[in-house]
């Protein structure tokens, strides 16, 4: 039990070489399933342990700040559970999807990359060391570049290359920021940094450090206007990869932003002395309105969903930029709810892609009546994007609007409402094409794969459950916000 924090990361990390060595697709898949299951067990146990207070784990027995430590507190324990849960669902979903999309001899390596991707995400979340966070972020990114490049169309290669260039610039910015913070304090341990940094507030190198870290992470979370890599990367990736990345990929960067802004630099520097909060609100408004508008004009379902993700990151960042307990809690809650909702939508798009060979919106004409279950899932999750009750999207958007009104940010409230109306347009377009057009004569390519449809519906039902009874996610989000309440201003 004492080793839970490191097992959380180590289990998927060790899964990667094992998958690569197995060289047998079913065995590799089974291993990936076990690994994500193991990670979820660790995460749930850690969440339950939060009642007894935070857990600090010194790697290799070297005490911090000399050694690297993992810190599990109420801010990151729910994220560990969220990432592990989505990863497990994707693992069940992946078997038929991957066999249809990836060359057989590459499948074990595909699962090795998936293990690395999950390990990297969990590592970013669990670590209490600034440099370690950079390394794990790059493990996640490098494996996602490779995974995206395995997409079926050759455009996937261009999308992956573009993401690689932009993502590496973002990561290098983060590296520069960490270097500057290290230069003024001489430590890389996050708790130690938090203790020493207030003495040097106002130092120009520290201001530059904050700027580099914020911009670097904004690239990784695809915050407008640094979002250009996201729609192509999500749309061209294999279905299982889209589902995992759209669910939790950008959320990890959002979490890293929270971690650095509040528990490393301190809210009084980032949101008080520096205008990160107002910049975040402006970027969030632009993301919500513009990205939703662009989503309305997409011709491909997966691109449409990708642009919608850029807009949804806007909601999350708007909440966090307020730097109030309610704002952080609303942003955190939307992170959980949107992860489930968007994963459901990309999972459903994967089902369509497998059965139709394309997710071009024109190819979906009239299929609502022939594939009622898949399209009902898309509709219900789509309502979550708009933010209608009884979906989870409604709960978090409501919390966000209340937090914004409390701060008198009426302009941002307007952007939230405008973006929701645009979401009605793009979700409505899918509904119109799928149900109100004549179905084609051509038969469907393949029968539905049971695990894929089942996992899509599991995600949809989760989003409905979180909408009808938001006790659990709201409690986790409030716990996270309260944990950082002392460091907001």
């Amino acid at each position: 039990m004492t080793h839970l924090p490191v097992l959380q990361v180590l289990i998927p990390l060790m899964g990667a070489p094992a998958c690569a060595l197995l060289r047998q697709r079913r065995a590799a898949w089974t291993l990936f399933l076990l690994v994500t299951g193991g990670a979820l067990v660790c995460a749930v146990l850690l969440v339950l342990r939060m009642e007894q207070g935070s857990v600090r784990y010194a790697l290799g027995g070297w005490p911090a700040p000399r050694g690297i430590e993992y810190v599990i507190d109420p801010l990151n324990a729910p994220m560990l559970a969220l990432v592990s849960l989505i990863a497990l669902i994707v693992a069940v979903y992946a078997r038929p999807s991957v066999e249809a999309e990836i060359e057989t001899r590459r499948i074990p390596l595909f699962y090795a990359c998936m293990c690395l991707c999950v390990a990297g995400m969990l590592g970013v979340i669990a670590t209490g060391d600034a440099f370690n966070a950079f390394v794990f972020l790059e493990i996640t990114s490098l494996s996602s570049y490779a995974l995206i490049a395995m997409g079926k169309r050759r455009r996937a290669l261009l999308a992956a290359f573009r993401y690689l260039i932009v993502g590496t610039i973002g990561a290098t910015f983060l590296l520069i920021g960490i270097a500057l913070a290290y230069a003024v304090t001489g430590t890389l341990n996050m708790a130690d940094l938090a203790q020493r940094l207030p003495d040097v507030y106002g130092n120009r190198a520290l201001t530059a450090a904050v700027a580099f870290v914020v911009v670097g992470l904004a690239v990784k979370m695809a915050l407008f206007p640094l979002h250009s890599w996201l729609p192509g990367a999500y749309a061209e990736a294999p279905s299982a990869v889209s589902t995992l990345l759209a669910g939790v990929g950008t959320k990890v960067a959002v979490y890293a932003f929270l971690r650095f802004a509040l528990t490393v630099f301190g809210g009084s520097l980032v949101f008080g002395l520096l205008p990160v909060g107002s910049i975040g609100l402006v970027a969030a408004c632009a993301a919500m309105v513009l990205a939703s508008a662009i989503a309305c004009f997409q011709r491909d379902l997966k691109y449409l969903l990708g642009w919608s993700s850029v807009a949804q990151i806007g909601y999350i960042v708007a909440g966090l930029s307020l730097a109030t307990v309610d704002g952080i809690s609303a942003g955190y809650l939307h992170m959980i709810n949107h992860a489930v909702t968007k994963a459901a939508l990309f999972a459903a798009a994967g089902v369509l892609l497998m059965r139709l060979g394309s997710v071009d919106l024109q190819a979906l004409a009239g299929l609502g009546r022939r594939m009622p279950w898949t399209f009902a899932a898309i509709l219900l999750a789509g309502l979550g994007l708009i933010g209608l009750p009884p979906t989870a999207g409604f709960v978090s958007k409501w919390a966000l609007v209340l937090a914004l009104v409390e701060q008198g940010q009426w302009f941002v409230v307007g952007a939230v409402l405008g973006s929701s109306l645009l979401a009605v347009v793009y979700v409505g377009r899918i509904v119109e094409i799928a149900w109100f057009r004549e179905p084609p004569e051509t038969p469907l390519l393949r029968p539905p794969a049971v695990p894929m449809v089942a996992m899509t519906w599991l995600l949809v039902l989760m989003s409905l459950y979180f909408g009808l009874s938001p006790v659990l996610p709201a409690a986790l989000a409030d716990g996270a916000a309260v944990a950082v309440a002392g460091r907001l201003r």
Partner: protein
């Protein structure tokens, strides 16, 4: 200031040149070269922090009192490994893009994609 902090000026020039190469060129290999120059500047930034005036390489030897700080060098080693992995993955992608599109110019590949899209 230029005389005492010349290493930082060198780093800034390298950093900006690298970033400019990445942004201004459409050729995929040139983009990767720019990215490497940019990253190399950051590696230098780390190493420069470790320098102690009059210090030698941090290897224990008799008769030496002042050593440079070894930790930044270790950090850079990790960052170099990450950078190398990025470059090799980027090169592998460039090879596959060349096989699929017959060009390494990003613009030409996009044009090829668009014309195929309208034809189909």
């Amino acid at each position: 200031m230029i005389a005492t902090h010349y290493i930082y000026w060198l780093i800034i020039v390298l950093m900006m040149s690298g970033l400019y190469i990445v942004l201004s060129h459409g050729h995929l290999l040139k983009k990767l070269i720019g990215l490497n120059v940019f990253q190399a500047a950051v590696f230098l930034l780390y190493v420069s922090f470790g320098k102690v005036a009059g210090g030698t390489a941090p290897i224990v030897a008799p008769g030496i009192e002042t050593y440079s700080h070894p930790l930044p060098a270790v950090l850079v080693l990790t960052a170099i490994v990450v950078g190398m992995a990025t470059t090799s993955l980027g090169l592998a992608l460039a090879v596959r893009i060349f096989r699929e599109y017959g060009t390494l110019e990003e613009d030409e590949a996009i044009v090829a994609e668009a014309s195929e899209h309208t034809a189909a």
